[in-house]
Subunit: 228 residues, 2 copies
C-alpha cells in the first residue's frame, strides 16, 4: 500500500488578498478553455456526500476522461486518500482555516496538475453552504449536493447557494423513508430561486440516478473541450 | 393562529466592524452575569437538527426556566416559527448574508428580549461548521451538534469547532443502523482535540439521551444564575 505522500500531494494554500477575484476567475476560465480542461466546483454542507458521489462519478468516467480531483479542506487528508484509491489524480488543498476557495487558491491547485493534462478537474470545495457561494472559483460549471437528512427547508435558508449553481444533486435518496423530506418541495423552492437549475436525485448506495448525473457532467465536459 | 409578525420579531443585523470582538464578548458576559441570564451558543452544520433538539429541550425546561431563543439565519423565518409554537420567546435574526454571529450581533438580539427577563437564552447560530467557531459571541457556554448522517470523520475535517465547544451532541442516533458511523471514533477524535468536552448521544425522534443533555444544560444555567 502506498503512503499518503506517494498517493497525493498536500498543498497549503495562500490567500490572494490584493487581486480582484472576479478578474482572476475569468482569466482562469480562459486558460481552461485553451487547455481544454473542464473545471467543476462541487459544493455542499459537511457530510452531504461530496466525496462519495465523486468516487461513483469517477468509476463511471475514468475510462473515457482524464480526471483530477482537488480536495479542499481546512484540515485532514481523508478525502484525497479516498479519491487517490480510485486511481485518478488527487490533490489535497489545505485552506489554512479559510471557509471557502477563491479563484487564486483554485489556480494554485490546478498548477500542480500541469497544463492541459486533464479533461475534467473537480474542485471539492470546503463543506459549507454559505461562504463558497459568494466566490467565483473560475470553474466552468458549479454543482451542489443536498442530502435528504439535511431537510427540505435548505433552499429557504441558504438561497444564494441554490441561486448560483448550475446543478443540484439531491443525495442519499435511499434514506427518504426515514426522514420527513419532500423532493417536490425542494424542486419547487430551488426552481423558484434558479429556474435553469438542473436537478438530479441520486443514491450512491443503490446507484439510483447516478447515470443521469454522470451523463449531464460528461455532456458539459465534451461541449467545453470540443470533444464529439 | 397567530401570524409570523405577532409570534416573533425579525431583526436585520448590522455588523460591528470597528470594535474588538473579544472585548465586546467579555462585556456581554459581564452583563449576562449581572442580569442572571445564561446564554448558550448552539452551532452545527445545516440540517444537523439544531431546531429540533431545541424544541425537545424547551419542552423539558419551560416549566422551570424562562427561556428565549434567537434564531440566526441568512434568510427565512421557518425556525423562529417552530420555536414560537412551543410558547417561549423567539426572535429571528437575519445576518444579511453573514456566515456567523459575532458578539455585537448577538447583543443586538439580546437587547430585544429586555434586561434580566430570561433565565436561559439560546442562540441558534448560522448552520456552518467553519466560521462560527472563530467568533466569541459572548455566550456563557457553547455546544455543537453532529448528526449521524454527516459522518464520523467531521472532527478530523473541522477541528476548530470541536476544540472550542463545551459540549458535543451526537444527534439522530436512531439512524445509526442506516449509516456507517462509529460513535466511538467520534468520541475518541473529539476528546483528542478537546479533553474536557462533554458528549451526549441523542435522538429527538425516540427521546433517547435527551434527559442527560437537558440535565447538563440545566445544571449550567443554575450554576451561572446562582439558582439552587
Amino acid at each position: 500500500m502506498k503512503t499518503a505522500t506517494e498517493q497525493f500531494k498536500i498543498i497549503e494554500l495562500k490567500e490572494s488578498v490584493f487581486e480582484d477575484n472576479n478578474r482572476v476567475a475569468d482569466k482562469l476560465r480562459e486558460r481552461l478553455k485553451t487547455e481544454k480542461t473542464f473545471l467543476l466546483n462541487l459544493m455542499a454542507s459537511p457530510g452531504a456526500g461530496k466525496t462519495t458521489l465523486l468516487v461513483c462519478t469517477i468509476e463511471k468516467l475514468k475510462s473515457e476522461l482524464r480526471i483530477g480531483v482537488m480536495e479542499a479542506d481546512i484540515d485532514s487528508s481523508v478525502d484525497a486518500r479516498k479519491i487517490a484509491d480510485t486511481g485518478v489524480r488527487a490533490i489535497q488543498l489545505h485552506t489554512g482555516g479559510m471557509c471557502h476557495l477563491d479563484a487564486g487558491m483554485t489556480e494554485q491547485g490546478l498548477n500542480e496538475f500541469g497544463s492541459g493534462e486533464l479533461d475534467l478537474v473537480v474542485l471539492e470545495n470546503v463543506g459549507n453552504l454559505v461562504c463558497p457561494a459568494e466566490f467565483d472559483t473560475g470553474s466552468v460549471k458549479s454543482a451542489m449536493i443536498l442530502s435528504v437528512p439535511e431537510g427540505d427547508d435548505k433552499p429557504l435558508k441558504y438561497p444564494l447557494m441554490f441561486s448560483v449553481v448550475d446543478a443540484l444533486v439531491i443525495s442519499k435518496i435511499d434514506c427518504l423513508p426515514y426522514f420527513d423530506f419532500s423532493v417536490e418541495a425542494v424542486r419547487e423552492r430551488a426552481k423558484k430561486l434558479n429556474p435553469d437549475i438542473e436537478i438530479f436525485e441520486v443514491s450512491a448506495k443503490t446507484g439510483e440516478g447516478i447515470d443521469e448525473w454522470v451523463k449531464w457532467l460528461k455532456k458539459n465536459v465534451c461541449d467545453w473541450n470540443l470533444i464529439d
